[in-house]
């Protein structure tokens, strides 16, 4: 007879260890017996069925993650706007309708194999990112001229667009009068993680009008959205940046052309810790504030800045607490992908209520793990630090690496950005710290900010007790490619296990995910002489998955 598609005969039933079956059902299978790779359907990344994690964790995933997040997505849509604008936006924008509805699979990929506290804490990070994403696109849609017959409504008049690499912290003094929404964060950056199919259209669109194919594909995608007329028109002005590189400068130039409206370019200095550039950087920030005052007639509100900067400092202080637990104990309950994406998202975005709420939930879990000494990643063989910029289409590779090889990515470069508290005692101190904050933006500090910052890797390796480096190799990043050989020399000289992971940021066609896995697996077998924890994850096809 057949049971769940498998041939079962009398002998099989007789030989079955029913005690073990009951234990697997109740507690979930031990790590080495899970065979997670068998759950996938062909190359789609879909599951024949979602993983059975034991009764407690499966029901937690079903109730507190799957149902909870689907439910809260609906309430967030209503809370931050209305259903009509949401539907209009879904029908109008490819990055919305094709991408964001598949969001629960983003959870699935990132949280695969997790149990207990690690599952709960990591899922809270995803919840925060989803909620803030909904808030931002609902604000865009509510103000969007394209969705409202070309009408410039009050929300449009009270919004400012900015590059995703300009931190929301810059706008704190005006948040009681207007709202700042990063232009590419939602239509581009977050989409690559949730559903990497969408972004390819924008990269191709950029090249279709004769723009070169060799700059960073992040910049190509950012202006490709404009080439395809797929940007929401939600603000009368924009503030752009040169962060991280010359490719971003080109993005600003093209956006200036396509948007055809007042635009303020706020560059961040390359050699940012040169004392001579601090004054210049401060003047650029003050210039941005003057631009807002001139364009909108709003006044710089020092009290509002103080209030939000102090709230933002609380987020940073909790981040330091998280780093401390991650560095010095095996009780840290957040996996590599949740840690990286959440940190980069909230520190770029600036304080919002959802970040404070999520940190409150995570703090309880973190305290419980430390208090009860719960080993959250018990199969850890190697504590890894991931350096340089991650492949956006495969940021969850670290979930795979832990499940397959026991490589636990404890910390990553993107998490270490914006390492700056903001003083609020005087205007001068506030501006000085804001200048530093702005200069410690993603990629600027440790990717193209000079070799002394890029080589801070060695200090962080020691601080976080890591024995392995996952060295991202962004093939189109001229800054990091230039320093490749120096890293090779240093790894050899210091006798460090480093695995180079080539990728092209958002473009999965250049280095497919399967190739990234192969490179890591080859290193683990040929250099480390280790056996996989889950052999079904060594080689599988997910070329068409989200």
């Amino acid at each position: 007879m057949k049971l769940f598609g498998k041939e079962v005969n009398k002998d099989t039933l007789k030989d079955t260890d029913w005690k073990k079956v009951a234990s697997d059902f109740w507690y979930g299978k031990p790590h080495e017996e899970r065979r997670l790779g068998d759950l996938y359907i062909g190359n789609t990344g879909l599951y024949k069925h979602r993983e059975w994690r034991g009764v407690k964790d499966t029901m937690y995933y079903f109730n507190n993650i799957w149902l909870y997040n689907y439910g809260h997505m609906i309430t967030d849509i209503m809370k931050y706007g209305n259903m009509v604008d949401f539907i209009k936006g879904t029908m109008r924008y490819r990055w919305m309708g094709q991408t964001y509805l598949t969001v629960m699979h983003w959870f699935d990929r990132g949280l695969e194999g997790l149990r207990g506290e690690a599952l709960a804490a990591s899922a809270w990070h995803y919840r925060g990112m989803v909620s803030e994403t909904i808030r931002q696109f609902q604000r865009m849609f509510a103000a969007d001229k394209k969705l409202h017959g070309g009408k410039e409504n009050e929300l449009w008049k009270n919004s400012i667009a900015h590059n995703e690499t300009v931190s929301g912290v810059i706008f704190f003094p005006f948040r009681d009068q207007m709202d700042d929404v990063a232009l590419e964060m939602i239509p581009y950056f977050v989409t690559c993680h949730v559903n990497n199919h969408t972004v390819l259209n924008y990269i191709d669109a950029a090249q279709s009008i004769g723009l070169p194919a060799d700059p960073c594909p992040m910049c190509q995608a950012e202006y490709g959205i404009f080439v395809l007329d797929d940007y929401p028109d939600y603000a009368p002005t924009m503030i752009t940046s040169n962060e991280a590189c010359d490719g971003s400068v080109a993005t600003s130039v093209l956006q200036d052309w396509f948007l055809n409206r007042p635009l303020y370019a706020m560059p961040q200095p390359m050699r940012y810790d040169d004392p001579l550039v601090q004054k210049h950087c401060a003047e650029e920030i003050e210039g941005a504030w003057k631009f807002i005052e001139d364009q909108y007639g709003y006044k710089f509100n020092w009290e509002k800045y103080k209030e939000l900067a102090e709230k933002h400092n609380k987020l940073t202080e909790f981040e330091y607490e998280k780093w401390d637990v991650a560095a010095n104990t095996p009780y840290y309950p957040i996996n590599g992908v949740a840690q990286a994406l959440y940190r980069i998202y909230y520190s770029q975005d600036g304080w919002r209520p959802i970040w404070e709420e999520v940190d409150g939930h995570v703090k309880k879990i973190l305290d419980r793990c430390v208090g009860k000494k719960i080993e959250t990643f018990p199969k850890t063989r190697h504590r890894a630090i991931a350096w340089s910029c991650a492949p956006l289409y495969y940021s969850n590779w670290c979930t795979w690496a832990y499940n397959c090889w026991g490589i636990n990515t404890v910390i990553n470069m993107d998490s270490l950005m914006f390492d700056q508290l903001l003083r609020t005692d005087t205007y001068e101190h506030a501006l000085e710290d804001l200048t530093w904050y702005n200069e410690k933006a993603p990629m600027r500090a440790m990717a193209v900010g000079g070799h002394e910052h890029i080589f801070q890797l060695w200090q962080y390796m020691e601080r976080f007790n890591c024995d392995m480096v996952i060295m991202y190799d962004q093939l189109a990043c001229k800054g990091m490619q230039g320093i490749h050989g120096m890293f090779e020399d240093e790894f050899r000289a210091r006798d460090i296990h480093a695995i180079w992971v080539p990728h092209a940021l958002p473009d999965k066609r250049v280095v497919p995910r399967a190739e990234i896995r192969k490179i890591i697996s080859d290193y683990m077998t040929t250099v480390m002489h280790e056996e996989p924890l889950d052999p079904t994850l060594v080689d599988f096809d997910d070329s068409e998955s989200w």
């Binding site: 879909l46 309708g97 094709q98 395809l228 055809n260 989200w546």
Partner: protein, 72 residues
């Protein structure tokens, strides 16, 4: 009389509980067998891709250069 009222109250509660259990069970089946993912992958995404591919779009390269006032 009281017994009949109590019986009908229990019946209503039972029905509500039954409907809740049915909906909960159905949702669990959707979750466990990844039916949401399968619907979005095989039905929703191809349908939306067709829509976006066909959509008429403004030719952005026709935007005139320097049409706005310079910003100080």
């Amino acid at each position: 009389m009281k017994k009949a009222i109590l019986k009908s109250i229990f019946k209503v509660i039972g029905k509500i509980f039954g409907i809740f259990a049915l909906v909960y069970g159905a949702l669990f089946a959707v979750f466990f067998f990844d039916l949401d993912g399968k619907f979005l992958y095989y039905v929703w995404e191809p349908m939306m891709v067709k829509r976006y591919d066909k959509m008429e779009r403004t030719d952005m390269t026709q935007t005139p250069y320097g049409a706005k006032e310079p910003v100080s």
